[in-house]
Amino acid sequence: MTRRRAVLFVRIAVLAGLVASLEICCRTGIIDPLTIIPPSDMVASMIDRVGSGELDESIVNTFSTIVLAFVLAVGCGTLAGALVHRSSRLRDVADPLLASYYSVPTFIFYPLLVALLGLGKAPLVVLGVLSAAPAVMISTLSGLDSVSPVLLKLARVHRLSPVRTLWWIVLPAALPRLFSGFKLALSYALIGVIAGEFILSGTGLGYAISFAYQSFDNRAMYGLMLFVLLVAVIANGILYAWEGRLARRRSAG
């Protein structure tokens, strides 16, 4: 068994062990089912809820908002990062702000966003972008910093135009760090949007979880939580696998 497979096996075994322990604790009454329901019930509830079609609109709403926030965050963050990278003065101003950005709880601006933009998708998208874009910006700066000066010299030796230099040298060289930013952005966009729905929105999966919680409908709440968790893990897993493929080329072995 290769080392990578062994690590994967142990990881799955640890997770399966935790889930099995939870199942046993819930079934034997060690954990009150009013607090947590058994994982098998969570799965059944998730299948019931998602299969019934009653959540279709919420699912479409939430994930389209997340995708929109993610795409905007990647676009705006990359562009802003590239602009700041070009100017050392702008960099001096932006660096400490970016470093302390995540100490600001952006959710406190949600009421303001609702007042400005209404109760629709817009405040949620803005909240998602506010959460995700700085991560992309930070990773863009770090990615552009990581491009070796000798590769830029090489571009000049080969008389590459600025666009070709960007496309053939700068972007591929910076890609590993850009990718880390994209991964973070997806997580932040997801957290931003679902938390936004949870707090104030009248639609979406976050709202559905909040509604189930307030109605003491534990079964529905845990089923929906599991669904959101699974989607987040699968989306991140796809990016993680893609990143791994890129990284393996660049590392020995």
Binding site: S148, V150, L151, K153, L154, R156, V157, H158, R159, L160, R164, W168, I169, P172, A173, L175, L246, R249, R250, S251, A252, G253
Partner: protein, 268 residues
Amino acid sequence: MSAAAVSEQSHVALNGVVRHYDGPPAVHALGPIDLEIGRGEFFSVVGPSGCGKSTLLDVLCGLARPTSGSVRFEGRELHGEVPDGIGVVFQEDSSMPWLSVRQNVAFGLRTSSLSEKEVAERVDHAVSFMGLAQFAGHYPAQLSGGMRQRVCIARTLVLRPRLILLDEPFGALDQQTRLLMGDELLRLWRETGATVLLITHALDEAAMLSDRVGVMSARPGRFIDMVETGWPRDRDSRIVSDPKFGTLTARLWSSLREESLKTMGRAA
């Protein structure tokens, strides 16, 4: 001799080249330098650290403009752009980690108007010439430092440059690999007929490989000695056992010692 006559005879000609860097503090990095390199010559430059060897290379290939003076390649003056026909190999590893060996070598021809078949032929030739055929599908991270540098040389080779500039290309390699890479370089020089300018800090490397060695002073770098080696064109690293090799290396060191002491802040 008129400038026109000089440019007809020499492949590369530098006339009164001076390079300053704007401060603060302003630095007079190079010159004045007058130099002619003949077509097909193997010319090396040695000098103390920080004497402006790399600046000379940048000016020579058009990556940097001289503050005053002129640089001519094949009779045409350079104006801050690398002209067609010049290939450069850098000291730092400039292989692209996201491309395979073959793709790295083919990178040099991405902007060429050659047909796919011609590109493939040139790439195959350069890859096998540098002994990389078995590793064509490997990525740089899977290769040793010496092999990565060979990839960079192959990438320059596919362009069929008439002037090859090498900026301490073997600086990061161990002594044995350097000697063997020196042999590869001599073979490349003989078979392509290109003019080669090698910047190096290794006196033995310069003495072994070159037809002529220029010794530079401490900053601002100027040529303080020109040493003709007199080696036959068909040579390899075995000439290090020739007594003349020791004499040449000793002469280079005696020219350079005082200048090296200056860079350490000490008089001779």
